[in-house]
Point group: C2
Chain length 337, copies 2
């Protein structure tokens, strides 16, 4: 791979939960950086954030000069993405956006590199959308099984960690655990009730048909990435008192008869996946792979496959996937530097 060409990189939302993971991963993966600029809201602007031995000044997104960048990672929510993305693309950068702003825009590729990197080649869009975290994590095992066996339908229940809802939600969970341990009154700001020792079976706003937004995203983004919406996806998304890593209980009805051995063989060969007997989220934080376990084909119906998936949603579900997209763009010669 020819990742030697150093890039002028921007990170928007650099002081947020996902923004910090971007910096960590850019460093760990030795992403080729010629210049690094960080952007955030006026509230965080002026801070210096440590990166590879120096302190990088955080610029005010609303005031900053958007020119001179090759690639900008946006991790700042839907409305900020809508408002500020054009400034950077018009100034010549490619934006990889982590929000839902462009995921349903047919002009914007929605990419999981292991699954549909070809979309990057097929489009000249200067915006690339990073899918929803639960979608990415489900797709890594789903896509190779879809290609090998076909899919009739999917039933998925998620177990999503609190860091997926941002810093305030994480502060709720850990603050409540501390208050509980010290016999103090637990308080909350992000949710309307405690999340410590609790579960909240709703993620995102309600849709008109009784779903919540996360359930809709899981279905629509999966269909779009697989370029096939002929099978139903029945999702139930649930927040659990886990700090980091999303888990998913997945039921798949395949078109072809399969055996557990065949399913395992397909997953063993698939990129970005590790098989484990019993993947549990706490042990798998800050790991790059999607971990798959509890793989079993029903003894009565050889079309019914079940498995359990765990992955760090701040990494493969967000920052890592976006950086992998940028790495693909470099390899394709699609970035400017």
């Amino acid at each position: 791979m020819s990742r030697s060409k150093a890039q002028r990189v921007g990170v928007v939302g650099a002081t947020g939960l996902v923004g910090r993971e971007f910096l960590d991963l850019l460093n760990r993966r030795q992403f080729p950086i010629a210049q690094l600029r960080l952007f955030a809201s006026g509230r965080s602007a002026g801070q210096r954030v440590p990166f590879q031995g120096s302190g990088v000044l955080v610029e005010d997104l609303t005031q900053a000069d958007p020119s001179g960048l090759d690639v900008v990672f946006f991790s700042a929510g839907r409305s900020v993405a809508h408002q500020y993305t054009p400034r950077f693309t018009e100034a010549g950068a490619v934006v990889i956006d982590n929000s839902s702003a462009f995921r349903e825009d047919p002009q914007v590729p929605l990419v999981v590199p292991e699954v549909n990197a070809g979309q990057l080649r097929a489009s000249s869009s200067r915006i690339i959308a990073n899918p929803n975290c639960s979608t990415i994590i489900m797709l890594l095992p789903l896509a190779p099984l879809y290609r090998a066996f076909g899919i009739q339908e999917i039933v998925v229940s998620t177990y999503q960690s609190v860091s997926g809802a941002g810093q305030a939600a994480l502060d709720d969970l850990l603050g409540q655990a501390r208050a509980f341990a010290q016999g103090e009154q637990e308080t909350w700001t992000h949710y309307d009730r405690p999340i410590f020792l609790n579960l909240i079976p709703r993620i995102g706003d309600w849709t008109e048909d009784g779903e919540c937004l996360e359930e809709r995203k899981l279905a629509r983004e999966t269909w779009r990435i697989l370029e096939d919406d002929t099978f139903p996806i029945y999702a139930t998304t649930v927040r659990v008192p886990v700090e980091r890593c999303h888990s998913e209980s997945i039921f798949l009805r395949t078109k072809r008869d399969v055996t557990t051995r065949e399913v395992v063989a397909v997953l063993e060969d698939a990129p970005g996946i590790s098989l484990l007997d019993l993947p549990t989220p706490r042990e798998l934080a800050r790991r790059e792979e999607v971990f798959v376990g509890r793989i079993r084909v029903d003894s009565q119906d050889p079309h019914v496959v079940r498995f359990w998936v765990v992955a760090d949603q701040l990494w493969k579900g967000a920052a890592l996937n976006a950086i992998q997209i940028a790495e693909q763009l470099i390899d394709m010669g699609r970035l400017s530097s």
Copy 2:
């Protein structure tokens, strides 16, 4: 109801997690008690347990005289139930056993009073089996929907609280939360890893077909209680860091076309159920009902019903269901006093 006839009551496993709930509920429900005797292992024998203003001596199960009791609630695990139940039934008592010892015995009724109380009338067995906690909780909404619409298949993923695994597991969770809050090393005895900020997607031993025992119980006991094993039940059972109350994400394919309104109407009329928009386990501890929310029929397929269920598994999933069985037996004149 003629519950005036006071009973001579025994509780085996009285000092355990479920045993204490039995005492709490016998008191709260004003169960008619002429005499209360408590039994436990030699380790706990000799203690005095408070009940309605007096201290009741805990007898050593292995040494105690089993005679003179009308009804005995067993909450002491499978092997203890196998070994000691006959002593009490031969001495004239009816035993309501909370373990899995007799649940597959065709001579022993397996009963959820709201669903199949008729089994109590149809059998003269002196042992009655209390179903598995997750099974009871699923069956309360499932049985009326099964009768109204028929069932083609069920996919269920559970979110089961740690108290379902007993005191040692609960001590793990709460001890780990305290250690975390105080910056100390977390330790564990029940599980092989932390359960605080974690999930463990396995409950009970592995079966030969890649399931765990809880998944098998959920299917087999449901079939037995509905007296219909013609539809598959695909369960994935997961332990979550919740203190109390099990939750379940349930997908149901009905035989008949349904609307959300029809499903809600059936559940509103069903005994033992309360509907809530967003049932969450922590808020619903020590409530007698099974709470059902997130009820939705798929907009594309009117055979697909999904809902979310929460109930206190130490109450409706264990002690409460057993006491309700005893209350039914009293009403039927089946107890001796």
